[in-house]
């Protein structure tokens, strides 16, 4: 091969990835602009305490958003993750405080519960061919009801297990002065990094994109696309289990009535971060930036004493704007 063509080939990947990179830069610069604007507007915003509060507030939604990113890239949707998260937290509370299982086993219960219901959604969608929207809406109500039944409609407290709250609120780096980042935030970052590696470096990740791009093509290439599609929902469920642990630990209790609404925040984070609702495109980093944009916005508006009702309205407008920009970008192509 002549040298020139090697050079051309080497230069090409940069050119191809530029569109994705540009949109990530767009989301990232929006985040920075928001932070600068709030810092200028209020002296209370850019303070260590507040920044840690923002990260902590992002952790649970952020973890859920990372999970649902896989599902959305396959071209699907999972409306059950919020209530599933709650059900996982109820199950882990039940396991630890009622059945008196070791805490580690209790955590495993949460993750296995998540995987089981993720698997259920996946089978409904891939095998029984239900539309993802309907299938996971069903699982949403299913897990919502089960949470109330298992917890007998009452919160379950971890009062006798002080270690449990350390999972979220403790800080393994607490010994370093001024670096009191709660474990929940660290776990969020670890989940994100591992997910990013899975998405970009493994066959599972490759099939996730491929299914979202053209499922029939994947199937006709001799790949068992159903299995990988179910896998995306199982992974999303497992991550909902992790979110369930985080939120239970943070509240030091399992709150069976909680959960509804978390899925919409997670979906919003994905969309703002550039994941395409029609599948085939998306990044974990984008999703994380999207999740931070939502919390920074809520946090900043609260510091500026904007009433909560208006915070919601503004977040809605931001999401519409983000999706509109995404549509424009697609049209240009």
């Amino acid at each position: 091969m002549p040298k020139t063509s090697v050079a051309a080939v080497a230069a090409a990947p940069k050119k191809n990835s530029s569109a994705v990179a540009r949109q990530k830069i767009f989301a990232f610069s929006s985040l920075i602009i928001l932070m600068i604007a709030f810092s200028l507007a209020s002296p209370n915003f850019f303070k260590a305490d507040n920044l840690i509060a923002i990260m902590l507030a992002t952790a649970v939604t952020g973890v859920l958003a990372v999970g649902i990113t896989f599902v959305i890239i396959t071209g699907g949707i999972d409306l059950s993750i919020g209530t599933l998260m709650t059900f996982c937290s109820v199950m882990t509370a039940k396991a630890i405080t009622v059945w008196h299982l070791p805490i580690l086993v209790g955590l495993l219960v949460a993750i296995l519960t998540g995987m089981t219901f993720g698997c259920l959604s996946g089978i409904l969608i891939a095998k029984l061919k239900l539309p993802p929207f309907i299938a996971t809406l069903g699982v949403n109500m299913l897990t919502k009801g089960l949470s109330l039944i298992v917890a007998q409609s009452k919160p379950i407290y971890f009062s006798d297990y002080p270690v449990f709250s350390q999972i979220s609120m403790g800080s393994v780096f607490g010994f370093i002065k001024d670096f009191q980042i709660p474990n929940a935030v660290l776990i969020f970052f670890i989940v994100a990094i591992v997910s990013s590696i899975i998405l970009n470096k493994t066959s599972f990740g490759r099939y996730t994109f491929a299914i979202g791009s053209n499922e029939e093509a994947v199937r006709l290439s001799g790949v068992n696309s159903d299995r990988w599609k179910i896998g995306a929902y199982v992974l999303c469920g497992a991550i909902a289990g992790i979110a369930g642990i985080l939120i239970a630990s943070r509240l030091n209790s399992a709150q069976p009535a909680l959960g509804q609404g978390y899925e919409t925040d997670a979906i919003a984070a994905c969309v703002i971060g550039g994941t395409s609702m029609s599948g085939g495109e998306g990044t974990i980093l984008g999703t994380i930036i999207g999740a931070f944009i939502i919390t920074v916005l809520t946090n900043g508006l609260r510091i500026l004493n904007v009433p909560q009702e208006w915070q919601i309205v503004i977040t809605g407008l931001i999401i519409i704007g983000a999706v509109y920009l995404d549509t424009l970008r697609r049209k240009k192509k």
Partner: protein, 508 residues
């Protein structure tokens, strides 16, 4: 030639209500291009899908190198060295070329945990080198032209070490140069001992590329001929089972008739540059050119489907402003898209609804209720006039053949009372018999005073159907010919005229 690569004997397959294949036989030798022809519904695709493991046979035998085999699914076909390139390309547009080729077989590293992207690209590169193709494996699939995507599909197929390659209408969307390139690749594969089963509706290609030709009709095997011994008329009459009257070329001179549609200075970005032409009442104007010449773009711009930078349109001598398709329809312009299923029909709805789709307003009472009796009457009337073959008006359009679907689109615009009709590739994907009927319809429409602008990539079709031909190249009108003086060579010369030698003699 020794043992056939693949041989099919006494193959039967039925679907609910129809026997798709009856005692079909077929064989393919190494280093051979064996073309399979037949009308739509003749069973070609069913046969190929059975060989590729997508359908299961009811009875009969498939022999691979003399041994009977069972092809349970697409994977098993691939394992047996049988690859199929589908009519509708099956691509993952968001993935790169190399990722598409090796989907499901990605090279791994770190004990199988991670993908080896470098080896993936290197492997793809060496495959391209094998066929002397110049495609960058790291390009996103969606950024390639259809022709290049097809080459990638072929590469993907042979990367399975396939001995048998099935190509279902690969040239449908290619221009002449791209077809030449594809044929070169096919001959190259043939010389490497690969057997190719080739399905095409383009009769002019048959004898250029085939070694043998097998004809199928109504799910039955009709016969196999050496290309060198057969001729086109013979093949066509076997395909349709009856003599086809080739309707005579039109070549009416309508220039003394009033100008119904006039376009001038139509420009849009790099796609359309100062396009102008006139069409007369009762005339069939052929818009010729290679793929990407801007013919469809011109039609869509006139129809208001795409925005324009500049340009003027006159209908019946009056200047009109068309900003959206609704305006065009209001002025009596109808557009029959090349992609019927996507832009022309609501395939999940029935014939009646589709026929009335453009004129529902006329059939809606003041309270908003549809006057269904009137609509049904006119739909039935039009269906009879166009001889649409359907069990009833309530049949869903997706169950009709391509030719009949096209007629439903025509019915839609006739009911809307359109006097100017753009036909964009009206016979793409339509079999020989139905083609004749579409031609006859276009002739009748023109004779009854409608004005027709026909876009076609098939030169024989342009020459036969047009009264006058406007040729485009790279967004410009490069010339105009009366049908009586036009030849394939003259049209091709204009269609490849890249210099700015716009002939304005006739167009203004």
């Amino acid at each position: 030639m020794a043992e056939p690569l693949i041989a099919v004997k006494n193959l039967n397959k039925s679907f609910p209500g129809v026997q798709a294949l009856k005692d079909v036989q077929f064989d393919l030798f190494p280093g051979e291009i064996h073309t399979l022809v037949g009308e739509n519904g003749a069973g070609k695709s069913t046969l190929m899908k059975i060989i590729a493991g997508i359908y299961q046979k009811d009875s009969g035998e498939i022999l691979l190198a003399g041994k009977p085999i069972d092809i349970a699914n697409p994977r098993s076909a691939l394992d047996h060295g049988i690859s199929i390139i589908h009519q509708e390309l099956n691509m993952m547009n968001h993935l790169t070329v190399a990722q598409n080729i090796f989907i499901g077989r990605e090279p791994k590293k770190a004990k199988g945990l991670f993908l080896d992207e470098k080896k993936l690209n290197d492997d793809a590169r060496s495959l391209f080198a094998l066929l002397k193709l110049n495609i960058d494996p790291t390009t996103k699939m969606g950024d390639l032209t259809i022709a290049k995507q097809q080459m990638v599909e072929i590469i993907k197929a042979i990367s399975y070490n396939s001995k048998v390659l099935i190509m279902d209408e690969p040239t449908a969307a290619l221009n002449a140069t791209e077809i030449d390139e594809l044929f070169a690749v096919m001959r190259n594969l043939r010389s490497k001992g690969i057997g190719i089963i080739y399905i095409s509706h383009r009769m002019d290609e048959l004898f250029r590329i085939s070694d043998r030709i097998t004809v199928m009709r109504d799910g039955q095997y009709i016969g196999t001929f050496r290309a060198a011994d057969a001729n086109l008329d013979q093949i066509i009459s076997l395909m349709v089972g009856r003599k086809i009257e080739q309707s005579a070329a039109r070549a009416h001179d309508c220039r003394d008739q009033p100008v119904v549609l006039k376009v001038s200075g139509l420009s849009r970005g790099k796609v359309l540059k100062d396009v102008g032409f006139e069409v007369h009442k009762g005339e069939v104007l052929g818009l010729a050119g290679l793929m990407g010449a801007g013919r469809t773009e011109a039609a869509r711009a006139i129809f208001g489907a795409d925005p324009i930078d500049a340009g003027e349109v006159w209908v019946d001598g009056k200047k009109v402003h068309i900003q959206r398709p609704a305006d065009a329809v209001h002025h009596g312009i109808g557009y029959l898209s090349e992609d019927r299923k996507r832009y022309g029909l609501a395939v999940g709805l029935d014939v009646e609804t589709n026929s009335g789709l453009a004129s529902l307003k006329q059939f809606t009472g003041p309270a908003g209720f549809v006057k269904s009796k009137q609509l049904r009457a006119i739909a039935q009337d039009t269906a009879n006039k166009l001889a649409i073959k359907t069990p009833s008006l309530q049949q869903k359009v997706k169950y009709l053949s391509g030719g009949n679907q096209q007629k439903v689109v025509i019915a839609k615009w006739l009911i809307r009372n359109c006097d100017i009709l753009f036909f964009d590739e009206p016979t793409r994907g339509i079999d020989v018999g139905a083609k004749q009927e579409i031609y006859r319809l276009i002739n009748e429409l023109a004779d009854s005073g409608k004005t027709i602008i026909m876009i076609s990539s098939e030169l024989p079709e342009i020459l036969r159907m047009s009264d006058r031909i406007v040729v485009m190249c790279e967004g410009r009108v490069t010339g105009e010919l009366m049908a009586s003086e036009a030849t394939q060579e003259k049209v091709m010369k204009l269609a490849t005229q890249r210099e700015t030698m716009v002939q304005k003699a006739n167009s203004n």
